[in-house]
């Protein structure tokens, strides 16, 4: 890579310094033998030259730190936000070396104060540069680019997809900028950077919230799918990027986890209610009646003949296989490849099916002494068989990803497996 400041140029710095020393000896205001008028004249001459050279030094410093703009071939070139972000870290570290720790006082302290003032000025410049970039990107995120108005099959938003790549880039630059340091500091140590990166992540969630709530978005399932996919993708991407980003986005990960879990519960509930409409309606009714009159009197309100007839029509093995196959196809259609949520969501659905059918099985036995066929365990086998082939296929194509342990993956199942879940309570 071509160096911007070749060694030859830097070798001249010592010569410049020597020249400055010689000039200082000859003309400095400290020369005692000169009269006041000559001292003043010399001082002004030195000051003029020094100020001029300092302006040039500043000119090159701002170039190197990525905060200068220029017109090249008629096109305006602004600075380099990524470079200025890294420069802001380095400036902060450099600042620490310009404090008068030995408390020498006098001109030494004043010179250090001048250096700090220079650094602060530069830091202000670089921060303004990359903060402006962040603000601009936040605005772009809020345009909800690429999200269809009805929200159907929106998949993972472009902003969500690209954000981890930006973090990767930042990480590469941050590591490169810390090569010479004894230890690489944590990003969370830099409050301003942490704040603005979190602001970017916050904008992603605001965009997701806006898209999922807008009037044109399908609220039956598309809003839930949108929330599930994007939050799952965000969580998995950040978690796989190490403890530094995990710590930095801890709040966002917690929020994403919660949104994903809630949305998945809603989505799976909708899916089962839709496909097992008759059974759901029948057992909901039985459950309500049972609470009022007790198990024994349920057949008075819902006759056994009617109950058995519905089950024979809606709950035989062949019908179940078909329905589960339809659910899988639908889920496959709803969930995008990018989110890699299908195996996770399917696993969660199997668990929810087991719970719901287990509950219905129990109601059937207690109220009608009728054994539900297929049983809850049979339902799990049918569902696993339906999803198994596709999951195996996915595992073969992406073995590492599918072997990753995921909290989000396990949490909806855990929640579904607990007593008193939302699905259970609804009956």
């Amino acid at each position: 890579m071509k160096r911007l400041f070749p060694n030859k140029t830097t070798q001249n710095y010592s010569q410049i310094n020597r020249e400055a020393y010689f000039t200082a000896v000859m003309f400095s205001p400290g020369t005692k033998k000169l009269d006041a008028e000559k001292k003043k004249r010399n001082f002004e001459a030195v000051k003029k030259s020094v100020d001029n050279s300092i302006n040039w030094f500043r000119y090159y410093i701002t170039r190197v730190l990525g905060i200068s703009s220029d017109t090249v071939n008629g096109q305006e070139r602004s600075g380099d936000p990524m470079l200025s972000l890294i420069a802001s870290i380095r400036l902060g570290q450099t600042m620490e070396t310009y404090f008068d720790k030995e408390k020498k006082g006098n001109e030494h302290s004043l010179a250090l104060a001048y250096s700090r003032f220079t650094i602060m000025g530069l830091k202000k410049g670089v921060e303004k540069q990359w903060v402006t970039w962040i603000e601009k990107e936040v605005k772009w995120i809020k345009t909800n680019a690429g999200v269809p108005l009805n929200g159907k099959r929106a998949g993972v938003f472009t902003s969500f997809l690209n954000f981890p790549s930006y973090l990767d880039h930042l990480h590469i630059c941050f590591r490169a900028g810390s090569e010479s340091s004894k230890s690489v500091p944590k990003l969370t140590k830099f409050k301003t950077i942490s704040y603005y990166l979190q602001k970017m992540a916050g904008a992603l969630f605001a965009s997701l919230d806006e898209c999922s709530r807008r009037e044109t978005t399908d609220q039956q399932y598309a809003a839930s799918v949108m929330r599930m996919e994007n939050t799952y993708f965000f969580t998995q991407c950040i978690k796989s990027r190490g403890s530094d980003f995990n710590e930095l986005f801890a709040k966002q990960i917690t929020a994403a986890h919660s949104i994903c879990k809630h949305s998945m519960d809603t989505y799976l509930g909708w899916m089962i209610k839709r496909e097992f409409k008759q059974l759901h309606s029948l057992f909901s009714s039985i459950s309500s009646i049972r609470k009022e009159v007790g198990d024994a009197d349920v057949p008075i309100h819902v006759p056994r003949a009617s109950f058995v007839k519905t089950l024979q029509k809606e709950s035989n093995r062949e019908v179940m296989k078909e329905k589960i196959s339809i659910i899988y196809s639908r889920m496959e259609k709803h969930l995008s490849e990018a989110s890699r949520l299908l195996p996770v969501a399917w696993k969660a659905l199997v668990k929810v099916l087991y719970e719901w059918f287990g509950r219905w099985e129990k109601l059937s036995t207690q109220c009608y002494k009728f054994v539900l066929e297929p049983s809850a365990i049979d339902m799990v086998k049918i569902a696993k068989a339906a999803g198994g082939a596709a999951v195996r296929k996915s595992a073969q194509s992406n073995p590492k990803v599918n072997n990753q342990k995921s909290d989000v993956m396990s949490s909806p199942e855990k929640s579904a497996g607990q007593k008193g879940t939302k699905q259970k309570r609804s009956y």
């Binding site: 160096r3 911007l4 400041f5 070749p6 830097t10 020249e19 400055a20 200082a24 000859m26 003309f27 400095s28 400290g30 020369t31 001082f43 001459a45 000051k47 030259s49 020094v50 001029n52 050279s53 300092i54 030094f57 000119y59 410093i61 190197v64 730190l65 200068s68 070139r77 380099d80 990524m82 470079l83 890294i86 400036l91 450099t94 001109e107 004043l110 010179a111 001048y114 250096s115 990107e137 772009w140 995120i141 472009t158 902003s159 690209n162 790549s165 930006y166 990767d168 990480h171 590469i172 630059c173 490169a176 900028g177 010479s180 991407c237 796989s240 890699r340 590492k400 990803v401 990753q404």
Partner: protein, 111 residues
Amino acid sequence: MIALLQPDFLESIRAGYSVLVSNGILSKKRMKTYFHSLPMRSCAGIVSVSCELKEYNNASFKAGSGALHSGENGFRMRPVKSKDVEMTLNEILPLVSSTKKICLFGEETFS
């Protein structure tokens, strides 16, 4: 040495050198020529490592996968030239500081 051997010459040497430095070595024109000869005078040769968020490639679950490779849109994540930043802060910044110090406090700063 001049001050010890021929003290009378010192004043005229000072006066002559003052003109030489003010109008010659450190003249605005000469400094401009010198600094313009340095690299990075123009932004033309500088390649920005930054891009907009929408220009980044789609991320994968695994961190850094494809990070240093061209993606579908040919974008490459370039690292910043951190050595330049380091050099600037470690070498030019003290130079600015010491130059200013000379201006303010004169030769005593070197003692």
